[in-house]
Amino acid sequence: MTDHHADFIVLGAGPGGYAAAFRAADLGRKVVLVDPRTSLGGVCLNEGCIPSKALLHAASLIREAREIADWGIAFGDPKIDLGALRAKKNGIVGQLTGGLRQLARKRKVQIVQGTARFTAANGLNIDGRDWTFDQAVIAVGSSPIRLTGWPEDDRIWDSAAALELRQIPARLAIVGGGVIGLEMATIYSALGSKVTIIELSGQIAPGADAEAVGVLHAALERQGVEIRTGTGVDGLTATSVGLMLSCSGEAAAKIDVDVVIQSVGRRANGAQLDADKAGIEVNARGEIAVDARCRTAQRHIFAIGDVTGAPMLAHRATHQGKVAAEVASGHAAAMETTLIPSVAYTSPELAWVGINAAQAKESGSAYKTTSFPWSASGRNLASGGADGLTKLVYCPNDHRVLGATIIGAGAGELLAEMVLAMEMGATLQDVALSIHAHPTLSETTAFAAERALGTLTDL
């Protein structure tokens, strides 16, 4: 006997799930939103994007206060009240998740706290209660990958634990130099930890443009972060005084630290759904395959966000969520783009979209690159003159922009112009002939375009 029925049910209240739920409600659907957490927002709001940005803001102020000493302004060493900082961060998270709850209420979205598993193609069990549904959206996200063979120890953190801000360890090792690991390094090195990043591949931020990553690498080292690329971790030994990592590869060594953060990637949560009972296949990586309309093998069940595989980014999930809600409600919609920007909120920030030089070369199609170093930007020099680079990949035949990578302060914000340019099919000339305010860092994209066109007078 079924207790409950849902017209449109969304499993997971992260950025993808709540977007799907709210969009469907706006289209007139009766929506149920299910999440095991007490608060809405998923990993992004509760233990990902938002709390990390709050701590990164604090880290950036600490760093800037230190750097302004060169200008004859000295603040001295910061006094850090960890409890107050944690409370501030939690307050920001609470404000946003509370806001989501209001948005849900306004749309009459029913929120059910619990963990859902499929029982049939139109059936779910949520914490012991049976539900039936007409249409469902799977938005159950992903979890940090845990390295196998490591002991259970509360000094081994994942990204969520790191953002709880339990303590500032004197010595911190970060295993995995991807975006999450680099942001943790940025936070904890500013708070005073001696940070070592251990990355298996040849560069930190694997997948990003090597030249731009070089700028970030040098900046992190100047901030006192030790980076060991091409280095693997063979094992971890826990003792009463600390943790010892045995590393092999380019920087083979035994490293003694107080805390280790694991940031070796995330794994889709598809395996925990009993999706096979609904006739949906979950692959070995826990992912569910979907088409451009976010449909699974079952026409009435959709999947969005991290559970559909890489790139596991909140803004992709949000767009997919809206597509799923619209398609489910009888509208013709689809994910029409592959342009999904990536940002590492490090200091300096690293942001990219489209293809980089190495990917262009690998694709075999015609390409050229152009760049503008921030050492020639007046605005950048006036703001402290940190290293930065704006680099574009373009097609030499029609001058259309194929990719952009920006390293420097606020790169994540500057990138938006290039995303729009690429979506609109803009050429280098379009970018160069759009007047950018002076002096701004946004000029660097126009300068890079002008450099390729031979019209640059600033270099």
């Binding site: 919609a333 029409e336 259309r400 979506e423 099919g425």
Partner: protein
Amino acid sequence: MRFVASPAVRAYATEQGVDLSTVSAATGRATLSREDVDQFLSGNGPAASAGSNHRRYWDVDHGQFGPVTREPVPRLARIAAANLSAANAEIPQVTHHNRADMRAIEAFRKSLVDEAAARGVKLTALAFHVKALARCLVEFPRFNSSLSVDGETLILKHYVHVGIAVDTPHALMVPVIRDADRSGLWRIAAEVADLSSRAQSRKIRGEEMGGASMSISNLGGIGGSAFTPIVNPPEVAILGLSRTEIVPVWAEDQWLPVPMVPLDLSYDHRVINGAEAARFLVRYAALLSDPRRMLV
């Protein structure tokens, strides 16, 4: 074709069930606007072509009505499909019908049986069709022409190449007999045999197709009494052949059993008018009924 369209235009096309790559192919432009999609949907102007808005109602879950299997459409067939859709949507086509008396050709072929065996070439009726068509193309130059892209210039060709549509397992292919007006029947017969067998085994080269003055689609070997072939652009006409049948023909004071081949001439009405087409097909039938006329 690679196209550029803003996200709003892409979303609009999806909403309307329009494939932007077909709009791009139809307009010949890389950058597409909302207006291009509207024009495509309304069926006006050059944008109206391949595919149209069929995605809107053909996206059906057929499996709900009974078991189905799916097979991929080969690349060649997909290219052919896009060309056929564009041709059918863009070209105002008329098909004109006639029949030709094949008694003289049948008799002539019979008289050459021994020689054909000695040469190792089968002298088919199709070879005579190619020869007669080549002659007509010389006499009616507008049939041997193409329109420029903007439709403002008629390009008249000073060569006579005849395409032969060949049904193959992979796709419909149209190899071309070059300079058919200057080739003898034996050579034409040998070339037709060679090209069609190589088209079947997919050993035909790209340059052996394309550039035809007109094409022949011959279904005579299979059956049927008439059909309406689709012009193969940028050609402006196509000749369809159906099965030769013995029909009673009133000759002066008696009915005679005469083998007649049905002829179906589809043509681009922008280039050729009806009277011209009728004259073309009358002349063609006359050449077949008395092949000696091809000499004079």
